[in-house]
């Protein structure tokens, strides 16, 4: 059924592609991108998924891990004003393919160097956040989950301003953004559930480009509010019900009800010089008031070499815990809450994971790229970012993910 849906979507896209030629001459331009991919792992004990993806991939081939389809329409009203809408079909927080509005904004050009956008835009927390779903625009098959899984926010409804200026041979872009992010979060624990978040968010990113080198620095702050986070709410409700002041305080500290302030800081570097392609990023997730979500440091480095149209690459990615913003009260072992507090201490420990991956991109035809990639995923703490079966608290064996796909743009 879902395969038929995707096929229907592809068919619709193809007919749109045929029309784009005629429509493209006027003020309306229609374009699209997508990936048709298949993936499997060598184990069914724990499943591999993209961040926020409910359907994990195990040892039988699945198209849901990497396949997606994006359609975009831009209407140019005049030289200063344009409107853009983009929808993306993929497997995200549901077991089925679903379609979401990823971008939807009016863009007003103030001058040659500055524009403002009003509406829904992608939150540019990390280097490739903006185009992480566009396989054709990326070297790797998918953004490293070790880092891209750290920021739960994808889009925001609000505004951003972009200013681009050349200082000699260096192009500098400054982007400021602010708004409210709303979306679904897939909670893999307890058999899996979906929670909704609404989070005011703001931040800025500075990008400098000099010849083949690009450096980027970004900082985003959010007040992440989730009111229906079932597993955490059950815990905090239980703590509050004890009427013990220390337990009530702990419940207040852990919860995401009412919102908690967190930040994401990233530095990224890319190089595309001669035939050498490098991409590296480092990010810190921090809490600015007590919250159960652990602080983390994450990063990755990718290196590739272009042999004509074939680009083999290697990458290493990781994330590690950086402690917790919550202090759990110390009580004697005989205290009735000792076991609960002990369990909370366990909850506050961040999962950790490392990955090594090798892959190859082959630009075999116009607007088409074939990719194959093998990830060697090594969960270090709490099964890393793998989806574990219900009731299994940890998993420490490595798994391999084998994937192949075709990226296209039109």
């Amino acid at each position: 059924m879902k395969k038929q849906l995707l096929a229907a979507a592809m068919l619709a896209a193809t007919s749109m592609m045929a029309q784009a030629g005629t429509l493209g001459d006027g003020n309306l331009s229609i374009s699209g991108f997508g990936t048709l991919g298949v993936a499997k792992t060598n184990s069914d004990d724990a499943k591999f998924a993209r961040y926020n993806q409910a359907a994990g991939t195990g040892d039988s081939p699945r198209i849901g891990l990497d396949s997606n389809l994006g359609l975009q329409a831009t209407y140019t009203f005049n030289e200063s004003l344009s409107g853009t809408v983009q929808v993306l079909t993929r497997k995200n927080t549901s077991q089925q393919f679903t379609t979401d509005l990823t971008w939807g904004f009016l863009k007003y050009k103030l001058n040659d160097e500055t524009n403002v956008r009003l509406g829904r835009v992608v939150l540019p927390a990390f280097l490739i956040s903006d185009y992480q779903n566009v396989g054709y625009a990326n070297t790797m098959m998918r953004p490293p989950i070790e880092m891209y899984g750290q920021a739960p926010i994808e889009n925001m409804d609000g505004a951003d301003i972009n200013w681009q200026h050349a200082f000699g041979d260096t192009n500098v872009t400054v982007q400021g953004f602010g708004g409210v992010s709303r979306g679904k979060l897939y909670i893999p624990t307890g058999g899996g559930s979906v929670a909704k978040h609404q989070s005011p968010v703001f931040g800025a990113a500075v990008t400098a480009e000099y010849g083949p080198f690009t450096a980027r620095l970004a900082h985003a702050r959010a007040k992440i509010e989730v009111n229906n986070l079932a597993p955490i709410n059950a815990l905090t409700d239980g703590l509050a019900a004890t009427k013990v002041p220390a337990a009530i305080q702990l419940a207040d500290d852990l919860t995401l009800r009412g919102g908690k302030k967190m930040s994401f800081t990233e530095i990224g570097l890319t190089m595309d010089w001669k035939n050498i392609v490098l991409q590296a990023e480092y990010a810190q997730r921090r809490a600015h008031e007590p919250v159960y979500i652990p602080e983390t440091n994450s990063g990755y480095i990718m290196a590739g070499y272009r042999f004509g149209k074939v680009l083999p690459y290697y990458a290493h990615a990781y994330y590690k815990g950086h402690g917790s913003s919550v202090t759990v009260p110390t009580v004697p072992a005989a205290h009735p809450l000792a076991a609960t507090f002990g369990a909370v201490r366990g909850l506050l420990v961040s999962p950790e994971q490392k990955s090594d991956l090798i892959g190859m991109r082959w630009d075999f035809a116009k607007s088409l790229a074939l990719k194959v990639q093998i990830d060697h995923v090594k969960p270090q703490v709490k099964g890393g970012s793998l989806i574990l079966p219900s009731g299994v608290p940890t998993y420490s064996n490595s798994i391999n993910v084998y994937a192949a796909g075709i990226d296209f743009v039109f």
Partner: protein
């Protein structure tokens, strides 16, 4: 006989060499104050890094287009497409308008004071201004 053969061979070589050595020139509107430009600067407009000028492109898949991006930025068509995919699908920019021939590119540049394009050197006339020659 030998002479004819070598003459034929020579003319064949010249003919084969001609397309490869055809010079491409970067052109702007006559009202554009710029008088010359380096390859790196010109490539900024065609790779979406600057919106100061409006780039005008040749047809996708055409030889002059492939040669131009190779000469100006050392990029093949797939690399250029990937760069534009990043810009297009993040709403940052729209790709340059395409025209089918040197004459059409020349006309588009002559009609728009902000336009920048590229054509075969042999197609240049005084309706546009040459600011860069790519050998």
């Amino acid at each position: 006989m030998k002479k004819i053969l070598s003459a034929l061979l020579a003319s064949a070589l010249v003919a084969a060499a001609l397309p490869a050595s055809a010079e491409i020139v970067v052109i702007v509107n006559k009202d554009n104050p710029a008088s010359r430009m380096f390859s790196e600067q010109a490539s900024q407009f065609f790779l979406g890094k600057s919106a100061m000028f409006t780039p005008v492109d040749q047809a996708e898949g055409s030889k002059i287009r492939t040669d131009f991006y190779q000469k100006v930025a050392d990029k093949d068509p797939a690399q250029v497409k990937a760069i534009w995919s990043k810009l297009v699908f993040t709403g940052k920019a729209t790709p340059p308008k395409e025209f089918k021939s040197n004459a059409e590119v020349k006309k588009a540049v002559a009609d728009d004071p902000k336009a920048i394009g590229y054509i075969d050197k042999s197609a240049v006339d005084d309706s546009v201004k040459v600011i860069l020659t790519l050998p």
